[in-house]
Symmetry: C2
C-alpha cells in the first residue's frame, strides 16, 4: 500500500548503452524469489558511490570503498537480497571478497573491478555457495533493457519496485538516465540510501562522476527518512557509460553539467521519495520544509526531529491535527538559542501557529482537512535567518510495527 | 498492562511533615476524573526543580523557572492534567500566572510562591476558570497522607499510579522520603521527566536541595526513554520540609548527605523506571548498559541510539532475537572513530556478538529464550575505555501506535 507510487513505467526505463543487467533466483534466503542481480559495465565506464556513515557498515560496503579507492575501472556489480552480510566480522569480509572473485573469474576481470552489495537480515553468514551457484543464470540473463527486473530483484520489504528514468539532449546528442532503488525499513540514509543505482550514457570526467554521486545523494537520498535507523548497508552508485555522442563534461558548473545534474537529480529524488512512499507501513507522504533558519544544517536538524518523532508520525497516521507535537519536536531539535516566540507553523496552506502559539484564525477543521490528505506539507518558519531545507518522510502505522515484528518469520 | 509495575503500596507512602496534598475533579478536559492537585508547603521548606530543555517549553515551566529564581520560599504547587499549556504563546503565560494568583490569594501568600505545572494536550488554551473554580475543593482535601490520591490525579495516559517511598535514620532521627511521577508518552526527559515530585522531611541547606534536584534527575529521569520525544512540560521537583530532628545537611559529600542522596536516588529511580514500565504500549522493560567507552557521555549516546531505534524496539515487542539491529544502532550512534571489530554484545548472560560479528557459540534459541522475558538487559562492550552508563526503555508495540493515534479522541 505505497503512497501514490504506481508500478514503474517501462517506457521510461531507458536502456543505457554499455550497462547490462541480469537477474536470477539464487535462493539466498528464500526460494522462488529474484534475489541476485549482476550489472555489467563496458570498459571506459565511470563509477562513483557514496556509502553509509554507520560505523557498523557491512562487509560489502567496506569492500566497495576499497575497490573504488583502487581504480575507476569498475566492470561489474553483484547485488544480493536476503542477507545484509553486516555484523559478520572478518568472516563477512572474506565471504564478500569470495563472491567478487567468483564473478571476476567468470568475466575474466580483476576481483577489485567488482563491487558487491548485500541487503537483508543482519548478523547472519552470507551463503556464498548459493550466490556463486546463481552467477551463470544471472549472467545469461544480462541485457540493457532489464532495469525493471533488476528493480524487482533488489526489493526486500518493498511492496513496489522503484525505477525511474529521463532523457535530455546535450550538444545535440540524446542522453538517457535510468535508476533503481529499494527501501523500505532501516531508512535514514546518511550519505546514501539502502541501495540505489543510477546510470547514464553521458560522457563525464572522473571528477564529475565523483561530484555527481555526492551532490545527487545530498539532494535526494540524504533527505528522506522512514524510521531514523541508518542502515549498515546504504549504498548509492552513479554510473556513466560515456557512450553518448557529446563532448565530455568536465565540470558540473558548465551549462551541460548543470543540465545533466538537474536531470539526474530529478530521477534521484523520485527514487529517494519512492522509498518513503513505500516506507514500511506508510499511509502518508510528508514533506517537511523548514525555512528562516540561520543555516541549512539547522533547518535539516529541525526537519529530521519532526520527521523522527513517533508522536508526530502516529498523529499523521491517525489524520489527527494534534499539531502541538510538531512544535514540541521543533523545541527539542537541539537548537540551543531557539526562541519559540519567533516560530510559525503551516500545514499546507493553513496557518496553524504564530509567535509560538496557536494562530487566532486557526480552526481545527482546517487542520483536519489537510491531515486527511495522503500528501501533506509541513512548513516551519524559524524566523531567525534565510536558510531552508526539506526532508521527506512517512507516518508510523500499525503496519510498521507488524512488518518489523514479523520481518524474519 | 504496565511491565511488572504493581499499584503503589500505601504503607510505603510516608506522610512528609509540612507537605499537604489536595485533589479534586475540576473538569479541565474531561468530567469525572481527578485532574487538579495542590501541594501546600510549610514555611521554611526548601524546594528545587529541574525542567525540560525543550526550547518549546510550556508556559508553566517558564513561570516555575522565574519563581524559583526569585525566592526559595515556595509555599504551594498547582498541578493540572488535561492541558499542557504549551505552544500557547504569551496568552499561555498570562493564564499560568493567573492560576498562581488565584491560589496565592486564597492562601494569602505571594503569587511567586506558587509553582504551576500542566500536562496534557499541547496548543490549547488553559481553562483558567475551571481550574480556579476547583481550588476550594482541592484545598479542602489537603492533608499529609494524600500521596496516593495525588499520584492518581497527575496521571494522563498512565495505566498505573506511580508512587514510592522509603525511610532512613540520620543522626538518630527518622527521615521519610516520598515521591510521585507520571508518564507515559513524549518521554525522553532532558533534565527532568514529564512530572515528578519528591519530598522529604530531611533538613538540608539551599545548596544541597539544588544539588539534589540535579543529581537525582541525572541518575534517574535523565536515563529513561519511551519514544525519544522530549516533552515541553518535563518538571522534576525536590522538596525538603526541614522538619526531621537532625542537624542540617550542608553538603552531599558528608556521610549524612551521601546517605540521604542514596535513599532519595533509590526512590527517584523507581519513579523513573515506573514511567518506562508503564510506557505507552510497553510489554517489556529493557535495561541498556553500555560499557568500555571512552566517556560516560558516549556510552549514554550509544545506549540512547539503541533505546530509540524503532527496529530494535519492535524486535523486542516480537520477542525476535533480530539482534543485528542493535549492532546497526551502535554503528549510527554518532561515535565517529568507533571500530566495529572491538564490539561485544550480550543479551542477559548470552554472548551474542564478538569482534563485531556473531559469536561462534551463539545459538538463536539462546537469544530467543532471553527475548521472551519481560525484563531484559542488553550489554554492549565498546572496548575502548573504562566508562559506562545505563539507560532504561521499553519496546514499541501496536498499542503505542493505537494510543497515540487515538490520544485526543
Amino acid at each position: 500500500m505505497a503512497v501514490n507510487l504506481p508500478a514503474p513505467n517501462p517506457a521510461e526505463l531507458f536502456p543505457i548503452a554499455g550497462v547490462r543487467l541480469g537477474v536470477t533466483e539464487a535462493g539466498v534466503r528464500k526460494a522462488n524469489r529474484k534475489d541476485l542481480t549482476v550489472m555489467l559495465l563496458d570498459q571506459g565506464t565511470a563509477v562513483a558511490g557514496v556509502f553509509t556513515q554507520n560505523r557498523f557498515c557491512a562487509a560489502p560496503v567496506q569492500i566497495c570503498r576499497e575497490h573504488l579507492a583502487r581504480t575507476y575501472d569498475i566492470r561489474a556489480m553483484l547485488i544480493n537480497t536476503g542477507n545484509a552480510n553486516a555484523g559478520t566480522g572478518a568472516d563477512g569480509r572474506r565471504r564478500a571478497i569470495s563472491t567478487c572473485v567468483a564473478l571476476a573469474v567468470k568475466l575474466d576481470i580483476a576481483a577489485y573491478a567488482v563491487l558487491p552489495f548485500s541487503t537483508g537480515v543482519i548478523m547472519e553468514s552470507l551463503p556464498v555457495d548459493r550466490i556463486e551457484a546463481g552467477l551463470d543464470a544471472a549472467l545469461a540473463d544480462a541485457r540493457e533493457d532489464n532495469w525493471l527486473r533488476a528493480a524487482e530483484a533488489i526489493m526486500t520489504t518493498d511492496t513496489v519496485a522503484k525505477a525511474f528514468g529521463t532523457q535530455l539532449v546535450i550538444d545535440g546528442a540524446l542522453v538517457s538516465i535510468t535508476g533503481i532503488s529499494k527501501g523500505a525499513g532501516m531508512i535514514r540514509p546518511n550519505m546514501a540510501t539502502m541501495l540505489g543505482f543510477m546510470a547514464t550514457d553521458a560522457c563525464v570526467s572522473e571528477d564529475v562522476i565523483e561530484q555527481l554521486a555526492k551532490e545527487l545523494a545530498e539532494g535526494s537520498f540524504n533527505r528522506v527518512t522512514v524510521d531514523g535507523d541508518t542502515s549498515t548497508n546504504d549504498s548509492f552508485v552513479v554510473i556513466a557509460s560515456n557512450k553518448a555522442k557529446h563532448a565530455r563534461i568536465d565540470s558540473l558548473d558548465s551549462a551541460n553539467g548543470r543540465a545533466l545534474k538537474a536531470a539526474m537529480l530529478d530521477v534521484a529524488r523520485k527514487l529517494a521519495q519512492a522509498i518513503v512512499r513505500d516506507g514500511e507501513g506508510a499511509t502518508k507522504f510528508i514533506t517537511i520544509q523548514v525555512e528562516g533558519g540561520k543555516t541549512q544544517a539547522e533547518c535539516r536538524q529541525v526537519a529530521y526531529a519532526i520527521a523522527h518523532s513517533p508522536l508526530v508520525k502516529t498523529a499523521f497516521f491517525a489524520s489527527d491535527p494534534n499539531l502541538g507535537r510538531i512544535l514540541a519536536a521543533v523545541g527539542y531539535a537541539g537548537i540551543a538559542d531557539l526562541e519559540q516566540t519567533g516560530i510559525d507553523l503551516y500545514l499546507a496552506d493553513v496557518h496553524v501557529a504564530t509567535g509560538g502559539g496557536r494562530h487566532p484564525d486557526y480552526r481545527e477543521e482546517d487542520g483536519q482537512r489537510v491531515m486527511q490528505q495522503s500528501e501533506i506539507t509541513v512548513r516551519v518558519l524559524l524566523g531567525r535567518g534565510d536558510a531552508m531545507d526539506t526532508v521527506w518522510t512517512c507516518d508510523l502505522s500499525h503496519d510498521y510495527v507488524s512488518i518489523n515484528a514479523d520481518y524474519r518469520s
